[in-house]
């Protein structure tokens, strides 16, 4: 055969060009390909069902003894069609889908999408300050819960059981806070185009301060579990090395890039949601290895706590201000209210639309059934998610539904550094390297 067969996808020529069909059953072709080489190698198929490939990542390894000679990553096992589904929902409903992509950082997905939609609507500067501050606070809380998973599962994958439970204890604290604010622990669809879905419950800022206090105390414990541990250092120092040139070549962002020494943090470089008004530092390391990434994440926790504290102070000053844009043609008509039978539509609002204002009723009906229209055009908005640059590219044809929404998911871009990080190392080092990238397959496949 003259043409090289792609081991992952057979192809056929059609009038529209080459069509690839990605299927399973590629195993035989891979094995036979290897079988032709003279060296003694074995192929190990790691995943998609494997304890430590972060959900359903598939790694095809070529081993010489315990040394890894080649790593190929296979993705697509968690493809949920979120981007496509969004095209069939109105602009507000799309949030509910976007939040489920990278399930560890829902608020970031929502915010990136909403910032892009707001840019298209031209209301970026009309977003109430209180809404922006709430968004910032929620994002930073989310960064903590996401980093806690990265650190905890990362340690678990390197064989340390204890730190995982301690990390998840702190994650629980954050998720409980989320539940109190939004009603849901994950995938909360809280950030909406124009603001946030509802205001904070009364007395929330005090609670947030308590949460910050207890988290800060817990983080000290967590740090003691791993920092300086000889075995941990041996397993992480110099492992998964990817220097600045490597990172920029592969388009790596987030803690992995910062561990190579580049202080690239969009919160500082291209501030959004008013991040320029907060005092915090960008954390870098220059070891460019798993240990550096671990330290960067640990130190970022403290910076997030600082931002949350400042946000809580701002929220106290902005008490009683709106959390949704004033334009009634965009803003979701009703705020939720706590009734005797739980959280639901505000009775005042129902009284208004059913009893007194015909116009309000029409607005409510149009917005809820059809949604608002967004001027034709396209917009691109980025946020710094726990994993790196998360961006939404939103295209509108002027209708009530997006024409196309594409996300630049940091997990997807970062994942391609797997081979660069782990080839030439030992099998056990792949696990550490992948854990330090912290990919979330929900975000990779979308």
């Amino acid at each position: 055969m003259t043409t090289h067969l792609d081991p992952y996808a057979s192809s056929r020529e059609t009038t529209e060009g080459t069509v690839f069909s990605v299927t399973g059953g590629d195993w035989d072709s891979l094995v036979s390909e290897i079988g032709e080489s003279k060296e003694e190698r074995i192929i190990v198929n790691m995943g998609p069902q494997h304890p430590s490939t972060h959900g359903v990542l598939r790694l095809v390894l070529e081993l010489e003894g315990e040394t890894v000679t080649e790593v190929r990553t296979g993705i697509g096992y968690l493809h949920t069609g979120i981007e496509k589904n969004i095209e069939f929902r109105n602009w507000t409903q799309a949030v509910t889908f976007a939040t489920r992509m990278d399930y560890l950082s829902p608020i970031f997905n929502e915010t990136a999408y909403c910032l892009a939609v707001e840019k298209l609507l031209g209301i970026t500067n009309d977003i109430p300050e209180r809404a922006s501050v709430i968004r910032v606070m929620m994002m930073e809380l989310n960064r903590i819960s996401s980093h806690m998973v990265a650190l905890g599962t990362g340690a678990l994958e390197l064989g340390a059981m204890g730190p995982m439970f301690f990390a998840f204890r702190d994650r629980e604290i954050v998720l409980d806070t989320f539940e109190e604010i939004t009603g849901l622990r994950m995938n909360m669809a809280y950030v909406r185009p124009g603001g946030v879905s509802q205001d904070l419950p009364a007395g929330m800022t005090t609670k947030i301060r308590d949460v910050v206090k207890s988290l800060r105390k817990n983080f000290e414990d967590n740090a003691k579990l791993l920092i300086g541990n000889t075995i941990w250092m041996k397993r992480t120092e110099g492992i998964g090395y990817l220097d600045l040139a490597g990172c920029t070549t592969l388009g790596i962002t987030g803690p992995v890039l910062r561990s190579a020494g580049l202080p690239w943090d969009l919160r500082k470089m291209q501030p959004y949601c008013g991040y320029e008004n907060y005092e915090f530092e960008v954390i870098t390391a220059d070891t460019a290895d798993v240990y550096g990434r671990f330290l960067v994440r640990m130190a970022e926790l403290e910076q997030s706590l600082r931002i949350i504290e400042q946000a809580a102070d701002k929220l106290d000053k902005l008490e009683g201000q709106p959390v949704m844009v004033a334009d009634k043609k965009i803003a979701w008509p009703a705020q939720l209210a706590l009734g005797a039978d739980g959280l639901g539509n505000s009775l005042d609002h129902i009284r208004e639309i059913m009893g007194s204002s015909m116009e309000s009723l029409i607005h409510h009906f149009k917005l809820v059934t059809e949604g608002f229209r967004v001027p034709a055009g396209q917009a691109y908005a980025t946020v710094e998610s726990p994993r790196g640059e998360l961006a939404a590219h939103v295209v509108s044809d002027g209708g009530t539904r997006p024409y196309r929404v594409h996300f630049r998911e940091p997990s997807f871009n970062n994942l391609q550094s797997t081979s660069a990080m782990s080839e030439g190392g030992m099998v056990a080092d792949i696990i550490g390297a992948v854990a330090s990238i912290d990919p979330v397959m929900g975000g990779v496949d979308r």
Binding site: P51, S52, E66, M161, I231, D243, T248, D265, I431
Partner: protein
């Protein structure tokens, strides 16, 4: 009368009874060990642990065992059937056998006969244990090989290399004990510790080496590379299910108890009470010594749990390096020192000469370790030769205030 002579008077039926007792003790303590481990780990990790089946969840491991036995037994198509079935049997049988020479009590009255709870006392008892445990490795290797898939094969290979290297370190750490006790019989070693001090104190380095290598020998965290669930899924037992898996599970825990029992016997005075509490040995007609023995075994078992709860796993090559380049040389040097001291003592050298020799050794060891330390610094500073300049354009560092957490190393 020595223990060997005492045991020699046992009639056949008593030996059979004791064999059954040893078996029952092993199985029971496995059940208890699993429960204890889960509860203790849970306490260390902000959890509760099993607390539903039976009082305080005590029957949890029993019900788990029954559940395992009732599960579907799968033999993979690619497996070598005969070897696949024999492997767990070898692993389990060998663990139980090593318990035969462990003295668990002093002289007691069993069904009207004076005896000790020890199946037999071989003059080469400790060597017998080493031999039997190394046959147990065959179970693991064969399981990995016969499964006919990659993960078990890697796990089996890792395990065999690991156990063989750590057996060397373990054997060497025991040599000092033999020199000191002048015997390889477990009962004699216990007796010699009763006359002098515990070996854990006298032969502290041997004790430390033994404790490290017993963790390596039993494939437990942080040395559980053979079944590193993060890398090899289940290691050698990935393809096993039902009772065969249960046998491996049982073998692992009996093995842990066996090495802990050996550690208590060789280093912590065996079934004897703590110094100063010797009067308790007469309680319950001598049976109280069984409690002392298991208290010591549990002490080691707790170390196992503690390690598992707190440490990450070592990498395979680092682990082997540690065994061959640290533990074995240190053991050899230590044996040299112990042997020299022993000879000096037996030749009737004056006390001052022995002390001078010991002081000289300490000074030499300190000098070497400081040299090594200094060398390490040098290597670190001469780290990584200057590589080629990257041919991919690297952005100039932006003017952003940042904190470098790695300390600009």
């Amino acid at each position: 009368m020595t223990t060997a002579q005492l045991l020699g008077q046992d009639p056949g039926w008593l030996i059979a009874v004791k064999a059954v007792m040893v078996f029952a003790i092993c199985v029971l303590s496995t059940l208890m060990a699993v429960w204890t481990e889960r509860r203790v780990l849970a306490k260390m990790q902000l959890r509760t642990g099993p607390n539903r089946v039976g009082p305080a969840g005590l029957l949890q491991s029993l019900s788990d065992g029954v559940k395992l036995a009732l599960k579907e037994d799968i033999i993979p198509a690619a497996a070598d059937k005969v070897v696949f079935i024999i492997a767990p049997i070898i692993a389990t049988a060998m663990c139980f056998m090593s318990f035969a020479v462990i003295p668990m009590t002093g002289v007691v009255n069993l069904f009207g006969r004076k005896t000790a709870l020890q199946l037999t006392d071989l003059p080469v008892g400790v060597l017998y244990i080493l031999a039997v445990t190394s046959i147990g490795v065959y179970g693991v290797v064969l399981a990995g090989w016969s499964s006919g898939s990659t993960y078990p094969l890697l796990g089996g290979l890792r395990s065999s290399a690991q156990v063989i290297s750590y057996e060397v370190a373990m054997g060497l750490s025991l040599v000092a004990v033999f020199i000191y006790a002048g015997s390889m019989s477990t009962a004699d070693i216990v007796g010699s510790q009763h006359q002098h001090l515990w070996n854990a104190i006298v032969l502290f380095p041997s004790f430390v080496i033994y404790v490290i290598s017993m963790v390596g020998e039993t494939n437990r965290a942080p040395f559980d590379l053979a079944e590193a669930e993060g890398e090899l899924v289940g290691g050698f037992h990935t393809e096993y299910s039902s009772l065969k898996f249960a046998l491996f599970f049982l073998a692992e825990y009996v093995n842990i108890i066996a090495v802990s029992a050996l550690a208590s016997t060789l280093f912590l005075g065996g079934w004897h009470a703590l110094p100063g509490l010797g009067f308790t040995e007469q309680w319950l007609g001598g049976w109280f010594t069984l409690i002392w023995f298991f208290a010591k075994v549990n002490f080691f078992f707790f170390i196992f749990m503690w390690l598992r709860g707190s440490l990450p796993r070592l990498r395979y090559d680092q682990f082997m390096k540690f065994g061959w380049k640290v533990l074995i040389p240190v053991s050899l040097i230590w044996i040299l020192i112990v042997a020299s001291l022993r000879v000096l003592q037996q030749e009737g050298a004056p006390r001052s000469a022995i002390l001078a020799f010991a002081a000289g050794v300490v000074i030499i060891v300190m000098a070497i370790s400081s040299l090594v330390e200094r060398n390490k610094e040098k290597v670190r500073s001469a780290d990584l030769p200057e590589g080629e300049a990257p041919n991919f354009p690297v952005p100039s560092l932006p003017n952003v205030q940042s904190i470098n957490v790695s300390g600009g190393k």
